[in-house]
Amino acid sequence: MIRFILLQNRQGKTRLAKYYIPLEESEKHKVEFEFRTHKVIYRRYAGLFFSLCVDITDNELAYLESIHLFVEILDHFFSNVCELDLVFNFHKVYLILDEFILAGELQETSKRAIIERMGELEKLE
């Protein structure tokens, strides 16, 4: 399962962080390449690093693919996403993430379904 998700820019500033396991506040600030017994899968999109911390037995390639899918969804939603979109609309990014991943597991793999649901939520507001 996914332990946490981090979006950081090249300066190391956290743009988005979601933890699916309880972590001490201090631990959150010192995550390394191999964290406890988990591994961190990361992928860089322009200046932004998407990191997933997953179990050691998990399929790295699959999570790499899921990062890509997440980015595609973001891209679709914000139409040509950039770092600033994520900064100013972090609450929406969280919404998308929640549609995509629940409690550390992928819950919906259809891009279209997520985008549709986001549209509904937008309408509500």
Partner: protein, 823 residues
């Protein structure tokens, strides 16, 4: 109303924070905002609550404390509007964690429940199984995850799913694998790879350890393994999962070969990630089917040469596991060749692995030596000390290859003189086998003849000695090699002497000392030089490897050890004491001092810890050891000296004595006089040392130690005489003699002594308690000191003397540090 689109203060805050140039500015902004929010919280401001919370979340993300907003989350959740609720839940997730009691209010999903309370698993089994029949991908996906987790926590659940669900999961996989293009779930031409992976993963759990279930899934696995497109990451992710499943279900050799071939294909993929996971996977596969992995050896070898550092590292580890007797030669050859072109940072790892392979699999010494020389020439600076130590041991044992080795080393040093450990091995070999280099002794068929003159050989060593990059060990080895060559090449003796003399002024104490000693040997002791610098006896491989493994008890007595232990004081001519210093044999005697340090240190005498003297070693050995010590530290004062210092060079008060000794060492008259006076086997000791043991007494009583003035004041003098009971080297009997220098008689004379913990002291009663005036008589008192750290620490003692003069109490105190060495 929407807090985010109109009149956005959240947006303003983010802007303000982003506009901050320094961390201090940012802190100020955040502090201001936090204060405002806190004030709003205090006023229970409903209108802006969700906006404030959104700001808080942003502040939280920046790493500032936001605990004061926690209750606000709950209020928002309780609100009626959807946006408020939504933000409330988001805040709840982000701002709170499990430690906060409030989170107990929130619901945890069933996966979390079963992870925490495995007993509840059975309640979920049935509904979970029915989830697997769902068509909707999202439901199926999460249902699978729930089943997987159930299986992990409960054996019972695993059995249940195995029986009921294996077929339906296989069918689901078949459906999704064969499904036509589905735009909803399509990822680079593959329908929902995530579902594929979940299914495969669940099958893995079902199939693991169960032949029937494994059988059931063979076909679909084979289909997925062969049919999946492998030109995109998504396809490769499925293949990867499939391989993993094949590897962990029950044995099916056909499938396994298929799986390993997939990994082999991964290795030549352009994507680093894929090569990386393939290497990791092969590492695990090696335990299952080493043969199949072996087939991809060539590809793995290519990965060792990859441009990506972590791939190189993995590939090297994998390759290391693949090495066996049959492929070691070709693999080593490849790796050594690669060493030439590899990056600097990688050379350390690569060298360590190559050396380890060579040591582990070498069958012939010549191959071992050849490969090691190649490694040393390429990356000698990365080779660990024990590796070249081991090489020297091997060379020493390969008597038929001495000539070949020294000639190869000579050639290698010409081209790779910058590799320190190569230079060390070469210097050592030239020192030992120099004449073979010059005379082309023991020529092998494969060798090309070379002509090396004696002076060429000395050149090599001189260059290494003078090379500014050479460190102390190398230089010390050079000096020893020169000493040896001075005897092997008499024609070069004068030149060698000149080189040695230049080092007499070295700022490094060790080199200076060595140079002075060696110069003295070359200059004045031609008659014994050849004995001193004889070739080292063959180094004992068992002892060495034993020590390398860290077993300090491996003190295997060798023939050399036996030679030293000859009784009766005549050192066997083949193993004169000095040679002991230069070779290993002094180590073979039970030697507490040498156990910790590498044998080459002993060999060089670099560590100056006192040489051992143990029970049963004869007096000659004993005094021989003393000679060695004396040789190492020039300043052993003569017997009659009133003070004894272990390190005269650093003790200023002894300056006169030490310079006296230095003169003595360099003045020719003194040693020769000693030679003529001493008998039999002792000239070596005598001429190297100022004090000659008295042959008559020493033969009878064990080693003789000089008496010392332990204490002297204006009124009192204490003299210590030492003797050792035979057969117990740890114990020393000291006879103290007290003399009164004052004109008054001392009464109630009491002598007390104290020693540190590693010593034991026993005081016998004194001969009297009255000490007559002006030296008209003396008191004697015996004591026995047992030194538990014998050979490591020397004696030390605090004393206190009380007596009465004209019924007036007088107290004198002192510390005795000048005990002779070796007590």
């Amino acid at each position: 109303m929407n807090p985010f689109s109109s009149g956005t203060r959240l947006r303003d805050m983010i802007r303000a924070i982003r506009a901050c140039k320094t961390a201090a500015e940012e802190r100020a902004v955040v502090r201001k905002e936090s204060a405002a929010i806190r004030a709003a919280v205090g006023e229970s401001d409903n209108e802006y609550r969700h906006r404030n919370l959104a700001k808080l979340m942003f502040i939280h993300m920046l790493g500032y404390p936001t605990h004061f907003g926690q209750m606000e989350c709950l209020k928002l959740i309780a609100a009626s509007g959807f946006p408020e609720k939504r933000i409330g839940y988001l805040g709840l997730m982000l701002l709170l964690d499990e430690r906060q009691e409030v989170l107990m209010l929130a619901a945890l999903c069933s996966i979390r429940i079963i992870k925490k309370v495995p007993d509840l698993a059975e309640n979920f089994m049935n509904p979970a199984a029915s989830l697997l029949k769902e068509k909707h991908h999202g439901v199926l996906l999460t249902g699978l995850q729930l089943c997987t987790d159930l299986c992990k926590v409960s054996e019972e659940a695993l059995e249940y799913f195995r029986k009921k669900c294996t077929e339906s999961v296989v069918k689901a996989l078949k459906d999704v694998a064969n499904s036509p293009y589905a735009p909803e779930y399509d990822i680079s031409g593959i329908t929902d790879p995530f579902l594929h992976i979940r299914l495969l993963r669940f099958l893995r759990i079902l199939g693991h350890g169960d032949a029937d279930a494994s059988d059931c899934m063979n076909d679909i696995l084979a289909q997925v393994a062969t049919k999946t497109e492998s030109n995109k990451n998504a396809g490769n992710a499925i293949l990867y999962e499939c391989v993993e499943t094949i590897m962990s279900i029950e044995d099916n050799s056909g499938l396994r070969v298929l799986a390993i071939n997939i990994l082999g294909r991964f290795l030549s993929n352009r994507d680093n990630n894929i090569r990386y996971v393939a290497l990791n996977m092969l590492m695990r596969a090696i335990t299952v089917d080493a043969q199949a992995v072996q087939r991809h050896r060539a590809t793995i070898l290519e990965c060792v040469k990859d441009s990506d550092a972590s791939i190189r590292k993995r590939a090297l580890e994998l390759l290391y596991l693949l090495v066996n007797e049959s492929n070691v030669k070709s693999l080593t050859k490849e790796l050594v060749e690669h060493l030439e072109v590899s990056e600097q940072e990688f050379k350390g790892d690569l060298t360590a692995k190559i050396c380890s392979i060579i040591e582990k699999f070498s069958t012939e010494k010549i191959w071992y030596i050849d490969q090691m020389l190649k490694v040393l020439s390429e990356a000698g600076n990365f080779v660990k000390d024990e590796v070249w130590h081991a090489l020297i041991v091997v060379i020493s044992n390969a008597s038929n290859l001495h000539g070949y080795t020294v000639r190869s080393l000579y050639k290698a040093v010409q081209t790779s003189g910058e590799q320190e450990s190569l230079v060390r091995v070469a210097v050592w070999c030239i020192g030992e086998y120099g004449e073979m280099l010059v005379n082309s002794t023991g020529m092998l068929d494969i060798e090309e003849p070379i002509t090396v003159t004696e002076s060429d050989a000395v050149d090599v060593i001189e260059i290494s000695l003078k090379n500014h990059t050479s460190d102390l060990t190398t230089r010390a080895m050079c000096l020893i090699a020169l000493l040896k060559l001075s005897s092997r090449f008499p024609a070069c003796s004068q030149r060698i002497k000149d080189i040695v003399v230049q080092n007499k002024g070295s700022l490094v104490l060790e080199l200076q000392q060595r140079s002075i000693e060696f110069n003295s040997i070359i200059e004045k002791h031609q008659n014994i030089r050849s004995l001193l610098v004889e070739r080292m006896p063959v180094l004992d491989e068992a002892t060495y490897s034993g020590r390398r493994a860290g077993s300090l008890s491996a003190t295997i007595p060798t023939s050399n050890g036996a030679a030293i232990n000859l009784p009766n004081g005549v050192a066997k001519p083949t193993a004169p004491p000095l040679v002991d210093l230069l070779d290993l044999s002094s180590d073979d005697a039970p030697a507490p001092s040498s156990s910790g340090s590498g044998f080459l240190h002993d060999l060089l005498g670099v560590d100056l810890s006192p040489a051992p003297s143990q029970s049963g070693t004869s007096q000659a050995q004993k005094s021989g050891t003393d000679v060695l010590l004396d040789l190492l530290s020039i300043g052993t004062p003569p017997a009659q000296s009133s003070s004894f210092s272990s390190d005269i060079l650093s003790t200023s008060q002894d300056n006169t004595t030490s310079s006296g000794n230095l003169q003595r060492l360099s003045s020719p008259s003194m040693p020769s006089a000693q030679i003529s006076s001493a008998a039999g086997g002792s000239p070596i000791m005598d001429l190297l040392d100022g004090f000659a043991p008295n042959p008559a007494t020493s033969d009878a009583n064990g080693p003789v130690y000089p008496s010392v003035v332990a204490f002297e004041s204006s009124s009192l003098k204490i003299l210590f005489n030492f003797s050792k009971p035979p057969g117990n080297p740890q114990t020393t009997t000291i006879q103290a003699t007290f003399t009164n220098k004052s004109p008054n008689t001392f009464t109630d004379f009491i002598f007390q002594a104290a020693v540190p913990k590693f010593l034991q002291l026993h005081l016998d009663p004194a001969s009297s308690n009255t000490l007559p005036e002006s030296g008209n008589g003396s008191i004697t008192q015996d004591m026995r000191v047992t030194n538990s750290q014998h050979g490591k620490k020397s004696l030390v003692m605090r004393i206190r003397i009380s007596y009465k003069v004209d019924s007036k109490d007088i107290l004198e105190e002192g510390q005795i540090n000048n005990f002779p060495r070796g007590l």
